[in-house]
């Protein structure tokens, strides 16, 4: 068992490293294919009045005139030694840009994840135990949550709570209240798939024989839910949460833009618009690492939580 698990863990970790590396190379190549580069784009503003020769001199300073593969090799070499370099757009150190933005995004994502879990559990519980008419409505809520675009939710919340009720001000997006509303905006679409999975597995588990037995022994539904159904129903949700972390990082772009928060989403958006390769490389790699690490943790956790999962088969798969 132990050696089997060890091999399984090692194989998964190896795959994770390959995924991160591939994400890095792929991002680099995709940006290289786009027309222009960060330096030329800003210097070619019709306002600047710089000649092609003037621009060329600055492009050479940044080494952007070299073949793509040479640039990739240099960039990858720096990345592997832990050096993130400087932004081509703002000339600031990439580590500083990412470091400044990270706390805001982490706060938002953590809060949104917590709210999403609460929403999902509440919906799933209600869908299962509420009177049939209400349960039907609750069961349709996840698809409703999924179909309302993120920015609509955000703008409605801002219009209502910031401009009409004055609960928070848009000029201070990092205040606790403003963060809460941003987190709700982000949590609503994220809670939907989680609720779906919870509802489905609750349905499944409550039909199992052990639940039947528990019920026949006179256990109240609430007790049955808390003592027997929660743990097995949560298993598929562990994998789901891992996927949701990715969505939290992605969905934060729109939420941050609307609420005026300066986080990783905003950094990505600026870097893509400005073709700011060093910044984009760093953020994509960071996201890949987070995504892969969370999924790896979920993968490694599942066989420990659920003895039915055969690691030997998984390792050979």
């Amino acid at each position: 068992m132990t050696s089997g698990y060890g091999r399984f863990a090692l194989a998964r970790a190896g795959q994770a490293a390959v995924v991160v590396l591939l994400a890095y190379v792929l991002t680099f190549l995709v940006i290289s294919v786009l027309p222009g580069d960060a330096i030329t784009n800003s210097l070619r503003d019709p306002q600047s009045g710089l000649s092609e020769a003037d621009i060329q001199r600055i492009v050479e300073f940044y080494g952007l005139d070299q073949p793509v593969l040479v640039q990739l090799a240099l960039s990858l070499g720096r990345f592997l030694t832990g050096e993130l370099g400087f932004s081509l757009q703002s000339n600031l150190p990439v580590s500083q840009i990412v470091g400044d933005a990270l706390p805001s995004t982490l706060t938002l994502a953590t809060m949104a994840l917590a709210i999403a879990v609460v929403f999902a559990v509440a919906i799933a519980y209600g869908a299962h135990y509420a009177p049939p008419r209400w349960a039907g409505i609750l069961r349709s809520i996840p698809s409703f949550f999924l179909s309302v675009p993120n920015f609509v939710i955000g703008l409605v919340l801002i219009e209502l709570f910031a401009f009409r009720l004055h609960s928070f001000t848009t000029t201070d997006p990092n205040s606790a209240t403003a963060t809460l509303f941003a987190a709700v905006t982000l949590a609503i679409p994220v809670s939907a798939p989680l609720a779906e999975v919870l509802i489905a597995s609750l349905d499944h588990e409550s039909r199992q024989e052990y639940a039947l037995v528990a019920r026949s022994r006179g256990l109240a539904e609430a007790q049955l839910f808390a003592r027997h159904l929660v743990k097995p129903s949560a298993l598929p949700s562990v994998a789901m949460v891992a996927l949701i972390v990715g969505e939290l990082l992605g969905g934060s772009v729109i939420t941050e833009t609307i609420f005026g928060r300066d986080g990783i989403g905003t950094v990505v958006q600026k870097a893509v618009t400005g073709e700011d390769q060093p910044v984009l490389q760093a953020v994509v790699s960071l996201s890949a690492v987070v995504f892969v690490a969370v999924n790896l943790a979920a993968d490694l956790l599942t066989p420990l939580l659920d003895p039915r999962v055969n690691v030997r088969e998984a390792a050979n798969a």
Binding site: L34, L50, I58, L92, P149, A162, T169, T170, T171, D262
Partner: protein, 547 residues
Amino acid sequence: MTPIEFRRRVFLAGITAITGSAVLTACGGPAATSSSDAGTPVDGGNITFLIQGYDTGWVSSKTSISSYEGNLWGQITDKLVYVDDKGQLSPWVASSWEELNGAKDFVLHLKDGVTFSDGTPLDAAAVVANLNAWAKGAPERGVSKVGLFPSSNFVSAEAADAKTVKVSFSSPALGFIATLAYHGCILLSPKTLALPVDAQADLAQEIGSGPFVLKSWKQGDSYVLEKRKDYNWGPAALGHTGPARLDTITYKVIKDTSVRTSTVASGQAEVAFNVEPQEIESLKAQGFTVGTPKYLGFVDGFQVNTQAFPTNDSSVRQAIQHGIDREEIRNTVYTEDWDAATTFIQGNVPEAGDYSSAFAFDADKAKKLLDDAGWKPGPDGFRVKDGKVLEFPLTPNPYVPSTKAEDELIAQQLERIGIKVNLKVVDVAGYAAIQASRPPLFQTSRSFVDVGTVAGVLTSQNNGENWFNLGTSDQKLNELSTAIASASDRESREKIAGELQQYVLEQGYFIPLNQLVQRLYLISPAVKGVQYNGLAYANFYTAWVAK
């Protein structure tokens, strides 16, 4: 991004229609739009200025000309010369100047007692360091020069004494003094200029001498400026001495245009940069001030590539020139705050003349020009000649708001005379590639302080920008631009500039649309005394908040 952006706008327009009007009415105050600057100025007060982005760092040579960073640079730095919105030059840090030897040599006399915010003097040595940075930059450190500075004939700048700077050029540089008022030429401490480019990116390292200094900031998010209490060298033209009236200005990034507008409309901030032109009218009706300053420079319009199909045919150029209904553009896309163009340079440039007959809207004339040149209407209504359809691609200028709506309308207008326009919308990154591909029409936006700049873009002489792709093939254009570039007195230059405008428009080398408004300011009714310079930036040195 575009569909999302679009849906969001449409959605918000709906929200605003339903609930926003209530907010506006509640917060807008009386709808009186009489003089917004009435009353006695008071000291003190704080304002918040909302802007869509501070993404490009603070390397001055790269960002001082930006619409976004330029707004903040203008509060923390001074210039040697001030230019007002009529193009009039007046003293600032330079208290006077002399133009000698046929505009080849200049002497600048500096004001006494001007200091940078770190206490070091802004003396002749500091001005020399700045002049060299503008003229040459430091490419070996990744720092570019200032694009419009007359560097090709710049010889030297030296300090004669602590208060006097001598500047020499190898040929007449009539535009030199005017260029000192250009937003690229901001005065910074020599210490700042000597820093490596990565250190210059940090705003805290940027030491200026302006009426405001940086108090605190979060890069890319918000910047708090506070007034400098010992400031006493503002331009006399602004009619104010001593320190600024406002205590602080907070520049705060809010990306979404509708949120910026609503935030000011609901009273949570005082100024918003670049609102939608369509919203101006209703905002004004609620008592808000909307500043639509026009910079000195080229109008909104197209550089024409005379070598590309189909604009290599002069009758096609003429037809486009007369086929565009500029009044319809103003009425549909813009508001009455936009002015008609009378030539290809903005109306406040002193040398601008009225040559509007050269590009007056006349669809019948445009059609006849095409008929006579052999462009016959084809089966689908578009004209054809020698088996080729009369069509070309057109890309809106992403640096100017609402050019997309503008170019869509132009495409419809030209369709009516049988020209097919293929609209291609790109972002800023894509626009550089469009420019490099030299399309038939390229939509430009360029400010300048001196009409001499025009000479540098027309042909390929003296490393010129060759806007019309004529190289040196048009003898008359060569002569006219040489005459402007080498003129040593303003009167004769003004005459040549007139001749040049007439010629360029008649040949259809430049197709003007309307006078350009690149920067829009939505200002709360309580904020008074905001002034605009010739580069269309708001100056808050004289601004105050009514109690």
